[in-house]
Symmetry: C2
Subunit: 406 residues, 2 copies
Amino acid sequence: MIQNWKEKYAKIMKDFEGYSIGKIFKYLGNPEIISLAGGLPSPDMFLKSEMRKASHKLLENDLENIFQYSPVPGEDDFIAAILKFLQRDGIKLEPENILITSSGQHGLDLTGRLFLDPEDYIMIDRPTFAGAIVAFQMQHPQIIGVDMEADGSNVDGYRAKLAKLPVKPKFIYVVPDFQNPSGITTSLEKREALLDLSYEMDIPLVEDSPYRDLRYRGEAIPSLFSLDQQREGTNVIGLYTFSKIFSPGIRVGFNIGPPDVITKMGNIKGGNTLNTPKYNQDMCRIFLTEMNYDSHMEKCRKYYSKKLDTFLEAMSEYFPPETGVSWTKPEGGLFLWVSLPKKIDTLKLFQKAIEYKVAFVPGEVFYGENPENNHLRINFSYVSAEQLVEAVKRLSKCVKEDLREQ
Amino acid sequence: MIQNWKEKYAKIMKDFEGYSIGKIFKYLGNPEIISLAGGLPSPDMFLKSEMRKASHKLLENDLENIFQYSPVPGEDDFIAAILKFLQRDGIKLEPENILITSSGQHGLDLTGRLFLDPEDYIMIDRPTFAGAIVAFQMQHPQIIGVDMEADGSNVDGYRAKLAKLPVKPKFIYVVPDFQNPSGITTSLEKREALLDLSYEMDIPLVEDSPYRDLRYRGEAIPSLFSLDQQREGTNVIGLYTFSKIFSPGIRVGFNIGPPDVITKMGNIKGGNTLNTPKYNQDMCRIFLTEMNYDSHMEKCRKYYSKKLDTFLEAMSEYFPPETGVSWTKPEGGLFLWVSLPKKIDTLKLFQKAIEYKVAFVPGEVFYGENPENNHLRINFSYVSAEQLVEAVKRLSKCVKEDLREQ
């Protein structure tokens, strides 16, 4: 019998189409295409010899434990290393405040599953990280977006939209440092204002921090989590990943929060995947404790900062003011956001760009609702400096042609 | 502000307490306790030197790809190796029929998320795999159980309960080979009857096969998936894992099914964890293609079979018929099921057993509803033959004392 599977799907999954960014990667098989589409850290920054050494040592000395089951919440020694790591950033926690996840994406999904029933409200920035939107969408919430400002989340905008909601949102999700996709950093003032709002209206904050240590200029701003701790609050859940500072392929991250939330997320993780593989956790522990974190990060900052400068210079050269094109100037992270004249639809532009052998992510995937269509996301960390300049050149030709045709 | 997080949890997660087996492991810290509680393959069967060699080669030759992002559905060459692996078992598939998962648990959760809305019905054997119950419970279904028989799933029992349901269940979940926890294998006749029922009533089957290649005696019986293919049907989803035959810590498995189901599960995986780490997939690929699978499995079968025999002999010696204790005699797998006189509650017995320095899993966690309390699950694969005998001796003392006290 040929089963009609589709009619058996859960109602909340029937229309779910997954990660829309993933779908554009099929166009990028041609090696002549310079892709600024991915969110990939540069393999130039992989600690290759240290990784090989660490891996070799792990398998020599501890193979039987590494390849056996291990605890769902994570390895004790890894959690201890993370506690120290967070202390440096002004966050004081105990082991019961930490759950090891199998990446930032996993941390987002555990958050969505713990809090969201269908039709619950959540609030996000416009634009915001597409992976968060995808994770939350699986729980079918009502997503309310608030346009970002140049200095971060628009707290007054949140306040105005909150006043019109029939019920309180379950949480507000933000990426305060070098946000993906905009590259925008939320100011200290706005972080404090977000916390004020959170306390006043009794709304938890979910703070996603994948790029926090990748600051190339300016002073570090305390995280929402640490500001909340300073005020003796427990209103923030923090999401972290090793993807951007160590390796995306290792698939390890961690969530921090109150013990009850962490226990509950651990229960969900147990039913979802059981433990994160110990080998992958051990490699990240060694990264934190034995691979000279500070000098590695310093090297990363110099390397990425130079690429960012190259990209920004090329943009100034190829997109003079009369083109009506503007872009953000991030102080860190891996992404920036280009805004084109309103008549350009970047999803259509993407097809043309492929002909010009350059790729980006059309901005519409970064909206939970009512997408704007004239933006695009640029990743400047992966391709070489020469390719960055060539990519901007191709992009400018392509934009000019698109404008001429209209 | 101190957030009252609990009131923010999703309704379907509020009462979810996760993996109940995990909770008993905290009693097992004392190394004098002989634990028959886990589901652990023996590290004696780990291919240590082959694993070291494979890992070394991977990191020497392909580090940059291994530690970068990789495709959500899985690595092409790994999927190709799995296709060949399945062909040996009479299953003919294309790449689009396979999704790499981060373990059997992950495969179960993706299945639950794709099909189950709250209050949907599913049907399972009584007893059945606790991890499946936990995964499905996260979607809050109505679980209908049917008592197993000595030769497997009770198809007439399913038919009788189906007749009384207000709506059709979304699927029937079974573990036909050396079921966890019972050790029971479903006969060919009953597999055909399950398929008949599936076709007749239009109910998909979910077949979980973690132990299929661990057969110690008797002839292999075709899987439901292959029987369905022989009948040109598409009514079965198959779940596989590398945990029991290669390594649980590697956290890799795969789901097989119709392309649309696999695509949809891949979409969910994308929002859940993105890709399974490439290193872990590559290790499993090398296991299938370069580690002499047949001779490894032959070695595993001999090793586990001997342990099973030792355990069964000890049970005959220490639990003569007058004790009213019975147990299954599996033809493979890692588990068997001990049934005690009805007046014994194995959850209470567990506490006493800890005093006697022996541990098992109380049977009640293997029921989706109306648990029976007088059974226990034994894992015979992990501890040594000497410890197995000693464990049975301790268990018999403990049971006798419990009976005396009543």
